[in-house]
Amino acid sequence: MNSENLIVIQIILPLSGAALCFVSKMMKSQTLQRLIDWFAAFLGLFVPLGLLFFLYPAVSQHPIQFYVGNQHPLIGIELRFDGVSWLLNVMGFITAATSWLYSRTAGPHTPEFSALFLIQTFALTATASSADLFNLFVCFEILGIASYALTAFSGKGRAFMAAFSYMAVSSTAMAIFLIGVFGVYRITGALSYDGIARYITTITTEAQIVGLGLSLVCIVIATAVRVAILPVYGWLPEAHATAPHAISAVLSGVLIKVPLFALGRFLFLLMSNVSAIDIVFKEILDVLKLSGTLTALVAVIFALSQRDVKRLLAYHSISQIGYVVSAWAIASPMAIAAAWMHAFYHALFKGLLFLSVGTVIDASGSKDVYTIRGAYKVGLIPTIAFFVGALSISAFPPFNGFASKAAIFYLHKGSWEYIILSIASVGTIASMIKLSRMFIPEGKSAKARPEYNPNILVLKPVTGFWLKVSLVIFALACVMGGLFSKEMGRLAGLLVGTETNPVPTHLFTLNSIKGTLSLLAQGVLLYLFVISLPGKYITHKIETRQPSFAGLLFAFSLGIGLLGTLVLLRH
C-alpha cells in the first residue's frame, strides 16, 4: 500500500471509530456495548500509532503531498504530511490512547464520551496534515467543538460555564481567523499553502503588504487563543480544571500545542520564500517570542497561588506552553525540534500529573491542596507516578523534562529570555513542592483544626487495572524519554530537516546537576516565602482574581489591536 493511502486511512480510522461508538449505543447488551467500544478505540487510537511506524521511512525522505481522492487541484482537498505532522501525530496518539485507557477505570464510560474523544483525535490528526487555510479553519472548529463538549462532560455546573466561556472566546477567535483567511485569499487569490507561497513573492505594493500583514495578524492571534499564551489564556484554567481527568490530560497535553505547530507549518513555509513581507513575519514572531517567554513566568506565578490542585496544574500547562512558544518563535529547524520535544515531553508528564492527581481527587473527594493529606494511601503506583511527573516538570535529571528544558535553554543561551525562563523554573519547582504537600502524612494537628473534615481524609487504595496501566505507560515514557533524549532529539531534528541535535551533547554532567541543585534550593526558598504570612496574603490576592467574561474578550481584542498597530506603524 502506498504512503498516501496510509495517511488517509490514518486520518479516517479515528472517525470510523467514533461511528462505531454510536453503533454500540444501540446495543442492548452491556457486554456487547463494551466490546464494540474497545474495538472502536483500538481501531481509532492504537492502529494509527502502528501505521505511523510504517509511514516513517517515507516521511523521513521527503514530505508527502497529494489531493484526497486524486481530485482536481481546484476542488480537491490538499494534504501535506511532513516531518512535523508525523511528530504531532505521535504526540497526539500516544497521549490520547493512554488517557482513554485511564477513562476505562475512572470514567466517563458512556459510548458518547468515546465517540467525542475519537472525533477530537480525528481533528488532531487532520489539523496536523492540512495544507490549506480553509481546511485548517474547519479542522480547528471540529477540534474546538469536540473539546467544548468534552469539557462539559463531567456534568458539573462549573464545567458547563467553563465550556461556554471557552466556546465564546474561541468562536470569536475563529470568526477573526476567517476574516484573516479572507484577507489572504483576497490578496493572493489562493488558499492552499503552496499557492499562497507562490504568490507572496510577487507582492510589492505597500497596500498589499499591509493588508496581508493584518490578515496574518488575525490568523496568528486567533490561533494564539487556542494555544493559550499571554494575553489570551484566560479561558484555559477553568476549562482544564473542570474537565474529566482523562480529558484534562489530552487538552493540556496535545490540544494547545497542535494549533501552534499547525500555524508554524503555514508561517514557516511562507517564510522560506524571500518576499517583501518577510519583515512582517519577523515582527510577528518576535512578539510571539516575547509573549511566550512572559507567559512562562506569569502563569507560574498564578500556579503558585492556587489552592485547587487541578487549576494549579492547568496554570502550569500555560507556563510550559510559554517555553514551547519561546523556542518555536525562533523559527530555525533546530528550534522547532526543541519546541516539539518539550511539547511532547510536556504531554507525557502533564498527562501523568493530571491522571495521578485526578486519582487522588477522586479518592479524597477534595480538590484543595491544603485539605488533602496522606495521599500516598491511594496506592504505590499513583504515588510513584505523581513523583515521576513532578520531578519531570521540575526538570530533574534523568527525567524527560530535564532534557527538553536543557534544549530550550541552550537555544536561548546569553539572551534575556534565558533569565526569565530560569526564574520561571524556580517557580515551577516551588509550586511542585506545594503540590507534594498532598502526600505528607496527616499530622495530629490536622485533626484539631476547625475545618477538619473526617470524611475527606478517608483515602482508600484505588483499584482498577486500566488506571494503573495508563499511569505506568506515562511514567515509563517519562523515564525513557529522559534516558534516550539524545536519540529523540536526533529523530526530531531529522524530521524537521536539520542534522544538528537540539539536545546538548553533554547532558548529564556534574555542572548540570549542580545547576539543578541550586534551582532546587531557590525553589525551596520561594516555597517557604509563599507559605509565610506576606506570601499567603499576596497569593490569596492573586488567587481570588478570576477573569470575567468581558475580560476574556477584552484581552483578545487588546492582543489583536496591539499586534495590528505594530504592523501598521512599521509600514
Binding site: V138, G157, T172, A175
Partner: protein, 113 residues
Amino acid sequence: MMINRILILCLFLLGFYGLMVQKNLVKKVFALSIQNSAVILLFIVEGSRIGDHAPILSEDRVRYVDPIPQALMLTAIVVGICVTALALALVYRLYQKYESLNVEEIQRKANNE
C-alpha cells in the same frame, strides 16, 4: 462598495459588543451568531465583485461571482450552526442547574459550589 464593508463591520462589532456586554446567556448566543453572519456576509459580498450571476457554467459568457467564497461559506454556515446548537445545549443545562440565565448570577453560584 465601501458602505457595504462599513455596514458589515458594524454588524460584526454589534455581535462582539453583545457577547461582551449582555448578561443573558441566550443573548450571548445570539451575539455569537450575529458575529458569524457578519463574516459570512463579508465573503459573499466580496465574492460578487467580479460578477453578479450564479456560478453555473453555460454557453453564453456571463460574468458570474467568484464561486470559491460561496463554497467556503456553505461550510462556515454549517460550522456556525453546530456551534450555536452546542451553545444552546450548554445554556439549557446551565439553566436547569442554576435556574437563571444571568451570567453573573451563575458564576457567583458556581463559585460557591
